[in-house]
């Protein structure tokens, strides 16, 4: 605890209390334990998994992670998305309770063809330091090969995952539903 006092022009004394949070040393960097992991965490894990030619990877089970993985699964980048343990995917249905919540993971099985991975790059678009939100017109221009707001246009075979009012959708689905939102990431 540090006491800080600062005198104003009018001569008032204001006490500022600063409470320093104690640094928590993580010796197991497998899972981000403090806050819910951000999008870049998922992007890094999936990219690394593909580069190492892994069959399955385990990612922390959160609503956002699950939603983005669902979009990737629907687009054909992943073979399957299953809930599971930190050891492996669930054989039979296990409900998430307070006891086992720390061990819950999402298991993604990665897809390869002709010795090439289906997903080469999964990059973050909207960052906490610079959020990117698209209106429907901007989404349409990005989808048709023109850039919008410093975001490069989508190439054939590229998808963009968006967080909208109607859920986490792919860019084309969001255009169909006529909803704008935050562009989370782009996959190619």
């Amino acid at each position: 605890m540090v006491f800080f006092h600062r005198s104003d022009k009018a001569g008032k004394q204001i006490l500022y209390f600063f409470v320093f949070s104690f640094a928590i040393y993580n010796f197991t960097p497998l899972i981000n334990t403090i806050t819910m992991p951000r999008v870049y965490d998922l992007c890094a894990r999936i990219q690394n998994g593909f580069r190492s030619r892994l069959q399955t990877i385990a990612i922390p089970e959160t609503k956002m992670n699950l939603a983005i993985c669902n979009v990737l699964y629907r687009e054909g980048f992943l073979s399957s998305v299953t809930r599971g343990n930190h050891v492996g995917p669930d054989v039979e249905y296990t409900p998430t309770t307070n006891e086992n919540v720390a061990t819950r993971r999402l298991w993604l099985s990665l897809k390869y063809k002709d010795n090439m991975p289906t997903l080469n790059k999964l990059s973050v678009v909207s960052k906490p330091s610079k959020k990117v939100t698209f209106s429907v017109n901007e989404m349409k221009s990005v989808a048709s090969g023109r850039r919008a707001k410093f975001i490069k246009p989508l190439q054939p075979g590229e998808i963009a995952v968006m967080n909208t009012n109607r859920g986490v959708l792919e860019l084309q689905e969001a255009i169909k539903k006529n909803v704008g939102g935050e562009v989370l990431c782009r996959a190619s």
Binding site: E75, G76, F77, K111, K113, D114, M116, T118, Q155, P156, G157
Partner: protein, 269 residues
């Protein structure tokens, strides 16, 4: 200056029909194909009736004219002397491709790099000329080759032959542009190639422009970032175009159906 002789005699001029042993070697190579198994023979003038049955031919008894002088001395069947000229550094005309000579002559050949390189030896500086030639037929086939020789013309000739040997097919979208924007790095050269609508033209580095002309890419936009060394730019472009991912393959990988809307509505046919 070294004089070089043309070793390969042109096809058919000295071919005689008297004996099979006197046929000239062909300048073009005929490749074995599944269709022309019985129809085509390597030597011109050989027909199905003419073909000698080698298992039924005896090497001494059937070649009576060669063993006419039956003396105790050894019959001189081979020339007693070695050939007087030993030709060094020959530049052969025979190029190992499935393209015919007519097609080879019609190829677009462009010398993009011709420079003087020096090899330092114990004997001193040995200069030679290095040439990089790009060939293409304007319809998707293209390749590049490098050649080095003391004389620039011969270096270009060597490079052209190697380029024809290295020809490969490049996929184009709508026969005029690349299918996707490409970003490629080769050594210190970073390339950005972008596909463009019909009528745009090839607006990129002049080396890339020439390569696109040889391949047949009419609409392209590009930028070379980093090193612009001509040799590396050319090699980078070829590598980038070889490692293209085609949308059909992506669709197959992901289990999606590919519908080309742009070519249906706006394509140039």
């Amino acid at each position: 200056m070294l004089a070089f002789q043309r070793l390969a005699r042109p096809l058919g001029t000295t071919a005689t029909k008297t004996s099979p042993a006197a046929y000239a070697c062909c300048a073009t190579r005929l490749y074995a194909t599944t269709e022309n198994k019985g129809a085509r023979f390597r030597q011109a003038g050989l027909t199905k009736e003419n073909v000698p049955q080698l298992d039924k031919v005896d090497s001494i008894l059937d070649f009576t004219e060669l063993s006419k002088d039956k003396t105790l001395e050894q019959p001189k069947l081979f020339p007693a002397h070695r050939p007087t000229e030993a030709v060094m550094n020959t530049v052969t005309e025979i190029v190992d491709t499935p393209l015919t000579t007519v097609e080879q002559a019609r190829l677009l050949k462009k010398t993009l790099v011709l420079k003087r390189v020096v090899n330092m030896n114990g004997k001193g500086k040995q200069p030679s000329m290095y040439a990089l030639v790009v060939v293409g037929n304007g319809k998707g086939l293209a390749g590049y080759g490098e050649g080095k020789d003391e004389e620039p013309s011969r270096a270009i000739f060597k490079a052209t032959n190697r380029a024809i040997k290295n020809i490969r097919f490049f996929d184009r979208y709508d026969d005029r542009t690349i299918s996707m924007d490409i970003e490629h790095k080769f050594h210190a050269t970073k390339l950005e190639l972008r596909s463009r609508p019909p009528g745009f033209g090839c607006r990129a580095n002049h080396h890339i422009h020439e390569i696109c002309r040889c391949i047949g890419i009419q609409d392209l936009s590009g930028k070379v970032r980093g090193s612009r060394k001509p040799m590396n730019v050319i090699k980078a472009t070829f590598e980038a175009l070889s490692n293209q991912k085609m949308p059909q393959d992506i669709a197959k990988m992901r289990g999606k159906k590919l519908a080309d809307v742009q070519s249906v509505y706006y394509g140039s046919h």
